[in-house]
């Protein structure tokens, strides 16, 4: 067994995670972590729906930002997908999607202020980069034969509309619907940095200790995502899209002078702005690297590796809950509910809650990232394992798990896991904003000190790190001969 590439690679990653664990700070620092947790659970069990108007407003804003942002990202991404053959476009898309929504929002906050445009663009820009990549993959995977059979002289547009789009359409549609779900999560989380979405209300209820309100907000959000299939009807879509921009709220007016100042002064490296020349700028850059970027990168990396492996372990424990080879329909439903909760809760939100209860360390972040991602991968692997039949006399229990099921799903499991590696890293960097010393921590610090030049350098470094991990992950998947795109509808 140890001769197989997949097993050796898995063990290598487990080893790296254990090494990371030795360096990581995972202490629980609050005096009474369990009491806080009990109070939160109490809030979830006794949600307070009295504050209905603010609850409804939070939902309305969250949905509106998600719809507007995702719609713009979808159109822009589709157009970019058409020219995705160009290397320049591919690099551009990799770059814009490697910067997290929250970082985009932090940047736009500096010059648009709390204007709806900040939230909409923060979603639309990274999403268009992701849409471009996945749409172009889907279009490429579509059956090419019909296009070859068309009579010569058929126009490019007709060829595309008849022979390409229809075959790819079901995949484009299901991927876009999945992305809208991601958009709802992103939109909710943007509230934590001041936009009027769910996160904003959550944070204020939390800081005042109103756990029943927190419970109500969370439950409503779960219901919203779990019932998407019911309210997201193709016929209603034009109505939603037309209405969404009108419910973004007005925010504060844009001060145009801020925009000019941002680009001509704020983001210009301080030594250059003061006219101290390139040598001073290099020194300034070196200073950022050693005092902020390197510790940030180090912490981001060890947190990512721990979260990646814990995600894997939790996934392997969780997928049988929704696999028909292990449980009957009723227990599977319970398993589905559990996994839906895990994957509908944005990592950022979960990390925020755990941080409130356990105090600042890497532990809340690792747990939050792993729970969320295990919810997603566990759901996919469980579904996949239900699809292959077992012979009627197959073994039961742990024997069935280890001999019949696990060997069959291990390759796709690894493919999904490595596919999410980059996503876990993107999130890890962001969780720094909550006080864990990953890259986001230093970005937030720089912005609070009004050093946008430093913040931009750190954001660019984070982006580079994400692109690098994406690249390594592709290499690992190729080495293990895993399909490069595990599923067309879930990244």
């Amino acid at each position: 067994m140890f001769a197989s590439r997949t097993v050796r690679t898995s063990l290598l990653f487990v080893f790296i995670a254990l090494m990371a664990l030795a360096f990581a700070d995972i202490a629980i620092t609050t005096l009474n972590p369990w009491q806080e947790m009990q109070r939160l659970l109490g809030g979830l069990l006794r949600p307070d729906f009295m504050a209905m108007d603010s609850l409804a407003l939070a939902l309305l804003r969250t949905v509106s930002f998600a719809f507007t942002g995702v719609a713009i990202g979808c159109v822009a991404g589709f157009l970019l997908a058409l020219v995705f053959g160009s290397r320049l476009v591919r690099i551009f898309c990799a770059f814009i999607r490697s910067i997290h929504e929250i970082f985009w929002a932090l940047i736009f906050l500096q010059f648009f202020g709390l204007h709806p445009l900040t939230g909409v663009l923060a979603i639309a820009i990274p999403f268009s980069g992701i849409f471009a990549k996945v749409y172009s993959e889907i279009l490429e995977e579509a059956d090419q034969t019909p296009a070859r059979l068309l009579p010569s002289g058929t126009g490019v547009v007709s060829r595309f509309l008849y022979a390409r789009i229809p075959d790819a359409f079901p995949h484009l549609r299901s991927y876009t619907a999945y992305r809208l779900e991601c958009g709802l999560r992103s939109s909710a989380v943007l509230g934590f940095i001041g936009l009027p979405t769910l996160g904003y209300y959550l944070e204020s209820s939390f800081s005042q200790g109103h756990y029943s309100e927190v419970g109500a907000l969370l439950l409503v959000f779960y219901v919203l995502i779990a019932t998407m299939r019911l309210w997201l009807r193709p016929r209603m879509l034009p109505l939603y899209l037309a209405a969404a921009p009108f419910f973004l709220g007005s925010g504060f007016p844009i001060v145009w002078g801020n925009i000019t100042r941002f680009f001509t002064e704020d983001v210009v490296p301080a030594p250059l702005r003061r006219g101290e020349g390139w040598e001073a700028t290099l020194g300034w850059l070196g200073d950022i690297l050693t005092s902020q970027a390197l510790p940030g990168i180090w912490n981001t990396l060890i947190l990512t590796q721990m979260a990646l492996v814990l995600t894997g372990i939790l996934t392997l424990l969780a997928f049988p809950l929704v696999s028909k080879h292990f449980f009957g329909p009723r227990r599977r439903t319970a398993g589905h509910v559990l996994l839906v909760i895990a994957r509908s809760t944005p990592e950022y939100l979960l990390a925020y809650i755990l941080l409130q209860m356990w105090g600042p360390s890497m532990l809340p972040a690792v747990i939050a990232l792993s729970l969320h991602n295990a919810g997603i991968i566990g759901h996919l692997i469980g579904r996949q394992s239900s699809e292959f039949p077992l012979r009627p006399d197959a073994s039961r229990g742990l024997n069935r798990y280890s001999y019949e099921v696990l060997p069959k799903v291990y390759a796709p499991f690894l493919a999904f896991l490595f596919y999410r590696w980059e996503i876990i890293m993107r999130e890890t960097a962001i969780l720094g904003i909550l006080g864990i010393t990953t890259l986001g921590f230093y970005v937030k610090g720089a912005i609070e000190d009004i050093r946008f030049d430093q913040a931009m350098v750190l954001i660019l470094i984070t982006a580079t790190l994400n692109i690098a991990v994406d690249w390594i992950s592709r290499g690992v998947r190729a080495h293990l001969r895993l399909k490069t795109t595990p599923s067309r509808c879930e990244p």
């Binding site: 059979l149 009579p151 007709s158 509309l161 022979a163 229809p166």
Partner: protein, 218 residues
């Protein structure tokens, strides 16, 4: 005047040569059947012909190349996409135009597909799919038809209907066939392929099914 001329062509997968070198000429008005065992190189030869044809060509590969999510009507209409402006094609994609429906209807009736006009190609049975692809090449109306096993999924009477329709619509055609009887009945020239070479090239009326047996041995 030739519709198709292959001279010393060959094809390989990796280092294995699967076809040729061979030469073959097809004149306008000739209906040719390619016969031979599966794996003899018939499909490869047809796709080479598709690449090198000198006249407008309609191609019906074994995989048919239907767009699964589009209706039978749209799949047939695709045969003439080049003859309409883009805006019209777009309009017809969203709202099938009466004029096009009326033009295509007789062909669908011929192929016994009228009731399936609105059905998505992906929902059809194997035989219905094959008839949809046949309807497309008939509607396309090019100068040369290349068809790879056009009736392999059809039984008895329907196979005759489709063979008749194809050979009546195309005076010049190359059809890869595994059914020797149908080949002799509907084409005027038989080209036998064995191990990637032409081993027989005779007018159909000089051959009987028994003469072709040797192609299927060894």
């Amino acid at each position: 005047m030739v519709a198709l001329a292959l001279e010393d062509v060959s094809a390989s997968f990796g280092k294995t040569r699967v076809l040729g070198p061979l030469s073959l000429t097809v004149r306008p008005g000739e209906q040719v059947a390619l016969v031979g065992k599966s794996g003899a190189g018939k499909s490869t030869l047809l796709s080479l012909m598709h690449q090198q044809a000198r006249v407008p060509v309609a191609y019906m590969p074994q995989a048919l190349g239907l767009v699964e999510t589009l209706s039978v009507f749209h799949n047939v209409y695709m045969g003439r996409l080049s003859q309409h402006p883009t805006w019209y094609n777009l309009l017809n994609l969203a709202w099938p135009q009466r004029k096009e429906l009326e033009t295509i209807e007789p062909i669908l009736a011929w192929m016994q597909l009228s009731e399936k006009r609105r059905a998505a190609a992906g929902e059809l049975s194997g035989g219905q799919r094959q008839r949809t692809a046949a309807a497309r090449v008939i509607y396309q109306g090019a100068d040369l038809l290349l068809a790879d096993e056009p009736v392999s999924a059809l039984d008895g009477p329907l196979a005759h209907v489709v063979m008749q329709a194809l050979t009546r619509s195309y005076a010049t055609a190359v059809l890869a066939m595994h059914d020797v009887e149908l080949a002799l009945q509907y084409t005027q020239r038989i080209v036998g392929i064995q191990h990637g070479r032409v081993v027989l090239d005779e007018p159909s009326h000089r051959l009987s099914a028994a003469d072709l047996q040797s192609l299927y041995q060894g």
